[in-house]
Structure formats: structure tokens, C-alpha cells
């Protein structure tokens, strides 16, 4: 029986992934990269669920990951549609170009 990965390691990995995703969302201006970074953040959250599920030997963590996958698929479809609209309107993929709602 192989020794399981310690939970702390899994959670640290999830945290690092989440932080990377967040930084990516905040610093990238290209919308496609922002969406990619969002995916990373979601997967980091999913990893945290899986790690926790394996720690307590419950299936819940993996069930939650399935949910997150499904939601991500939906999110990506909407996100890509928005990307297309953005490109159509502004002829660019720069998220900062769409700032007409400034107060």
C-alpha cells in the first residue's frame, strides 16, 4: 500500500495554485488569459476538495469536483461568448478597454 500524500502538502499545492490563478486574473489584461487563470483557481478549489475527501475517506470531495467541472464548462461557454462580443465591439481582447461603466 502506497503511503498517501499528506493533506498539508495537497492543501499547500491548492493554495499555491489558487494564488497563481488570482494573480493571473489581476495582472493579465488579455481576456482569454483571465479566463485561463479563472480555470486555474477553480481547479485549485477542486483539488482542495479532493484532498479533503481523501483525508476523511469520503466520496463527497470527488462529487464536489464533478460539480465544479460541470459549472466550469458552463462558465467557459458564457465566458467565451463574452470574449467574442468583446472582440466584436472593441476589436481587441484587452479587458481594460471595456471600461465604459466608470463613474
Amino acid at each position: 500500500m502506497t503511503t498517501s500524500v499528506p493533506m498539508t502538502h495537497g492543501l499547500i499545492l491548492a493554495g499555491v495554485l489558487f494564488a497563481m490563478g488570482l494573480v493571473g486574473v489581476l495582472v493579465r489584461r488579455n481576456v482569454i488569459f483571465i479566463l485561463l487563470c479563472l480555470e486555474i483557481m477553480l481547479n485549485a478549489a477542486g483539488l482542495a476538495f479532493v484532498v479533503a475527501g481523501s483525508r476523511w475517506g469520503q466520496a463527497d470531495g470527488q462529487v464536489m469536483f464533478i460539480f465544479i467541472l460541470a459549472m466550469t464548462a458552463a462558465e467557459v461557454s458564457v465566458g467565451l461568448a463574452l470574449v467574442l462580443q468583446l472582440h466584436h465591439h472593441f476589436k481587441t481582447l484587452d479587458a481594460d478597454a471595456a471600461s465604459r461603466m466608470r463613474g
Binding site: L22, L26, D96, A98, R102, G103
Partner: protein, 628 residues
Amino acid sequence: MLELLWLIPALPLVGFLALVCLKPAKSLTALVGVGSVGLSAAAAFFVGARFLSSPPPGHTYRQTLWTWIRLDGLDAGFSLYLDPLALVMVLVITGVGLLIHLYSAEHMIEDKGYRRFFAYMNLFVGSMLILVLADNLLLLYLGWEGVGLCSYLLIGFWYENPSNGRAARKAFIVTRVGDTALAVALFLIYRHLGTLEIQRVMAQASIEWPVGSNLALAAAALLLAGAVGKSAQLPLQTWLPDAMAGPSPVSALIHAATMVTAGVYLIARTHVLFALAPAIQAAVAVIGAATLLVAGSSALVQRDIKRVLAYSTISQIGYMFVALGVGAWAAALFHFMTHAFFKALLFLAAGVVIQALHEEHDMLKMGGLRRQMPLVFLTFLAGSASLAALPVITAGFYSKEWILWAAWSSQQGSPWLWAAGLAGALLTSGYTFRMVFLTFFGPTRPREIAQPGLRVQVPLVLLAVLSVIGGWLELPGPMGNVHFFSDFLWGSLPAPSHLHGSPSTELFLEAVAAVASLAGIVLAYWFFLRRPGGTEALVRSFLGGILNRFWLAGWAFDWLYDRLLVRPYVWLAEKDRDDFFDQIYRGLAWLNRASYQGLSLTQNGQVRWYAMGMAVGAAIVLAMVVFL
């Protein structure tokens, strides 16, 4: 039948609400506006007939509609009180008010504010009826303020012209001085007598306050100040001549039926307090005498026909104050009634003339209208004769006679008051017939004259008849000895105290007054019809020129108040621009503006910035959950 009392003030108020809320069409507007006051007049007539045929016990009838305010010790009901004094006021207000409304239905037909006009007029009449029917001083104050508000709205009715707005504000602010005094009087009376119900106030005051006590003096003085403001007496008379800015029916209503007579009513209603303060009552007479001379001389030189009538109203109210001051309460009420008839008539007729000449107010540009407007001329002549107290035939003669006789013979009277009244009578007939001669006599000028319709003619004729026969309700001792009016008022107002002087003296004084009145007419004829150049020579002379300018400005009271009050106040306001309190509010405004600018910076429209906000917020919440 007396139970219908509540309908009298309610109907005009319902008319007001209907006009404001339902926005009826033009023809329906006149029906609602005139009809509500007409029904109110009918109710007043029925109640009055019932009151005369089978008087209620004690000649008073009280109707409590609902409790208005009930606090610890203060119990102000919304209740009406009818006695002979209130009944006379109600009949005059609704009767004359109805005729004025009927006249307005035609006179104002071209005006685009037709509905607004009738709404204000109905509210005006309703407020005045609440004032005179009020059972307690608080309800009276409600009507008092309602009347003030409506006068403001109606004087500034043609608000597009800024000077009309200024006249309206002036009327409101000057009368407010008196209103404040009246409010303080209410506080004082409630503080010391513990009630505001008028009859109980009177009863308790005569028990608790000895004659001439300080409290009675203070209460009477404050009430007098309130009356002086509303009734345009010295020193608060300056608003009334400017109140001519409103349409003519408004002037008729303000001068005849509502508003300016409220002060006379207030003093008559609280006459017990004035009897407890003889010094203040004497002041009432002196104020009246001074006012009637000041206003009478000012009326003598005015060129604007409505300003002549305005000064004449101030002067005639001065007569009523003289009567109140010498304790001839019924005489004041009698003069109020006859004055309502002829002054409403004069304003309405003047309104026809002004409208026919395309808003021309200057009498010197009228002239010769006698043949062009015969009906208006005849009715105007009847009103003028009554105002000038033409002997024997007019109502104004009997009422003015009664006041002069009381001023001479009553216990509080004096020959000085009588002499002032006599001089006033000379002035009155002088300026009245100056107005008649300048407007209607002289060479006829070619002009297009639109003749008034039926709805204007009927009120004019009715009021002309009333200003002639209205005096027969009360004839003096040597001339018929009819005392219907004073006997009727006996229930609410005591008879003048200790009339001394024999009937022969009375007859002699009446003859003197009649001569004064006729002399005024003859002088007016001489100066303004026979020798029109004579007055110009007078005006050109040094003294005459000064006097002319002085009187034209109404004894320069406006100038005085401007220097004494308005300018120092404006100066102070300008100097005080940056005081500490302004800094507080300016700081608040700055804070608002700064936070607005700061917060609007955060809304920069960039998605990444908002995501950052969410991330930081989530981090803070997590940190709070973990560490706290």
C-alpha cells in the same frame, strides 16, 4: 336647521378640494367654484333665518365636529360657535363672497389660471369662515393663517411678473409680524388661564384679572398687534396698497369680505379682554383715528384707481377701530357690513373699468366713461355715495354717523376722536368724488368699450342696492330710531357704555358731519371738474409738491421701513455671510463632495480592479473569521 352650521365652512373647502383634485373643465370649474360658495351662502341664510325665528338658548349655538388636539390640559376641539356676532360675519362673508365669485366667473374667463383662481378663492372663503366660526382660539388661528396664505397666493396670482411676487411676499411678511404677536397672545392666555376656548377665556379673564392688570394689558396689546397686522392699520398698513397686484375680484374679496376685517372681528370677539385693559382700548381708538387720517390723505393724491380704493379701505377700517376703541362694538360691526357692500361694489366696478380699458389703472387717462358705461357708472356712483357717507340716502352715512356719535358721546370717547373722524369724513368724500369725477366725468374720449355681461351686472346692481338700503337696519335716535342691528348683536356684544349727550346734540353733530361730507364733494367738484388746472398749480408750488410726493408715497412708510428695517437686515446678512454656522454647513457640503469624488474614483470600469476589490474583501473577511 342649526345642525347645518358645519356645512357653511365645509362647502367652500370641498369646492377647493374638488377643483384641485378633479381638475374639471372650464365651464364646470365656474359651476363648482361659484356653486360651492352659493350653497354655503344658502346654508348661512337658512341657519340665519332659523337663528332669528327661534333663537337657541342664550343666543349661542355650539357644534363640536371632532376632537382636534387632546393633550394634558389642552383640549382643542374642532368645534364651531355661532352667536349674533359670528352670524353677521358669516352672512356678509358668504353673501358678498358669492357675488364676487359670480362676478369672477365672467371677469376671469380669459385667464389661463381660471381653475387655480377659483380654487384659491374657495379656500380663502373657507378659511375666513373657519376663522369667524371658531369656538377656540387655536381653530381661529388656523383660519387666520389660512387667510394669510390665500392672500399671498392670490396677490401673487399673476406670478410671471416679479413685482407681483414681491407684493405678495410683502403682504405675507408684514402680516406675519402681527401673526407672531397673536401666537404669543395665545401662549400667554393658555399659560395663565389654562384654556383656549374663547368664551371660557373671557369668563375666566374677567374673574382672575383685575381691570388694568399687567397680564390683561399684555394679552390685549398682543391681540391688538395681531389685529393691526391683518387689518392693515398703523404701523403695519404698508402691505395693503401693494396688494393691488392681484386681480380685481381678489381685491374685492380681501377688502370687503375676508382678510382685513379679521382684525376687527378678533377685537370684537375678545372685547372682554379689551374692556379689562382700558389703556389698550384707548390705543385702539388712537390707532384707528391716526390711520384714517394718514390713509385718507394718501388716497387724495393717488393716480391708480385701485390704490385710491386700497387707501380708502385702510381709512374705513380705521373708523371701525375708532368704534371698537370707544366701546361701540355694534357700530364697528355695522360699518364693517356697509363697508363690505360698497367696497366690494367699488372694486368690482373698478375691475370692469380697468378691463374695458385694457389694464389701464391711471385715472387721469380714463375720464368721460359716464356715457360709455352707464350701468357701471350708476353702480359706482351708488358705492361712492355710500363711501362718502352722502346724507340720509346711503348706508355709509348711517354707519359712519353712528361711529362719530359714539366717538363723541361714549365714556371712552373724546371730542378729539370725533374731530379726527370728521376730518376723515371730509377727506373721504373728497377723494371718493375725485375718483368719480376723474374716471367718469370730463370729456368723452373715443374708445372701444366692451360692455359687461349678465354675470357681472347682477352682482354690481345687487351690491349697489345693498349699499343704499343696507343702512336702514339701524337708524339713529333722532331719525327713525330703528335698532334692529344693535338689538340683534346685544347677545354677543354689550351696548356702548354711558352715552352722554342729548338727542339735539346728536342731531347737530349729524348735521355737521353731513355738511363735511357734502363739502368734500363740492371741493372735489371744484378742483377736479370745474378748474382742472387748479390742482396742477398746487402741485407745482413748493409746499404742495412736497405734500403731494409725501402723500403719494403713503406718508413714506415704505421708505422709513426700508431704511429702518430692510436695509440694516440685508447689511447684517451680508456681513454675516461667513459666520461659524455657515462654516459647519459648508464643511458638510465639502465632505459630501470629497467623498463623492473619492468613491467615484473607485468605479473606474475596469474588471480587474473590481476583481481585486472582491479578492481583498474576501481576504479581509477570511482574516476576520480566522483571527477574531
